[in-house]
Assembly symmetry: none
Homo-oligomer: 175 residues x 2
Amino acid sequence: MTKIMITELEGHQENKTQKDIVNVHVNNGGVMYVKVMTDEQLETLRNQIAVYASICEQLVEMHKSLTAQQDLTGISLSLYFSPYTCFHGHKITARQRWTPTAVQLQILERIFDQGTGTPSKQKIKEIASELSLHGQISETNVYNWFQNRRARSKRKQLGSSSNNAESEQESRVAE
Amino acid sequence: MTKIMITELEGHQENKTQKDIVNVHVNNGGVMYVKVMTDEQLETLRNQIAVYASICEQLVEMHKSLTAQQDLTGISLSLYFSPYTCFHGHKITARQRWTPTAVQLQILERIFDQGTGTPSKQKIKEIASELSLHGQISETNVYNWFQNRRARSKRKQLGSSSNNAESEQESRVAE
DNA sequence: ACGTTATGAATGAATG
DNA sequence: CATTCATTCATAACGT
């Protein structure tokens, strides 16, 4: 039976409608930060994941049938996923600025985490080449990404190390 | 200051591997059940969703190449969904966002109007420090505020003068 | 309750 | 690199 004392931070707002992910002190032993969420929020998360699961399944099915029979001219597109759930704005916009796809991001993060800090020119070329398999990308994009990523992770470091006394006041949700 | 007593349900597990979303009693007023999760767990959820996103994209790619090869008439699945969608930067949480109090806003506006445009790092610190007397605030908040304030006041200028650019929140038609 | 607007925050790119 | 700018997403606030 673990008891946790939750003290709501920043009481500067009277009518907090449903801001309810708060930081939490665990007072048994150390100090541990956890999130608190309502059933509703958790439900939302579950739904989001469920939607993905559903989409994935449908796509897999689709792919299977496609590869199985080649002559299916009328594949019923019953596999519409209703985009309103998770993808609230399925705009068909042509963005002018590059946005990494999920796959690309994953790869980039992985490389970044390997700590091989400096991405040499050669390296950049390679990465860009690999990433181009998963979507439009240029070497400049890769370069910028690493620049920004490093800078921002650094900034985060400094910011958090400022004054971490145990005062319950601090400890805003990490950015 | 709301105090919440968390008692872990079914304490039949010592080494809580990662089943540790527990129910919670709120003892102020009514009884409210919420879940508690560590950052780590939240991260896990995020990753799960990210993985789904990744898989989905890959599947879409697969499908695209398949349909491309085989000239399947009428099967143009526009499976495109914006990568921005739900987890812009893998953020899932209902992020709580800072909202300046009236007093804070007043002060900020005043400083902004003084035209001392660039708020240096040091300045930011001071301002944040002062504003913290009037409510929860972080240096990042201050930084962002000035950033946004400047950008938007500038945009307004431009918009009113010559051709009216689209408002900030438009959605542009695809290519 | 629900759609709109205002605005805090995230981030790709540019600039020094 | 360090900062700044520009654009866009996401949501608090607000009107209906």
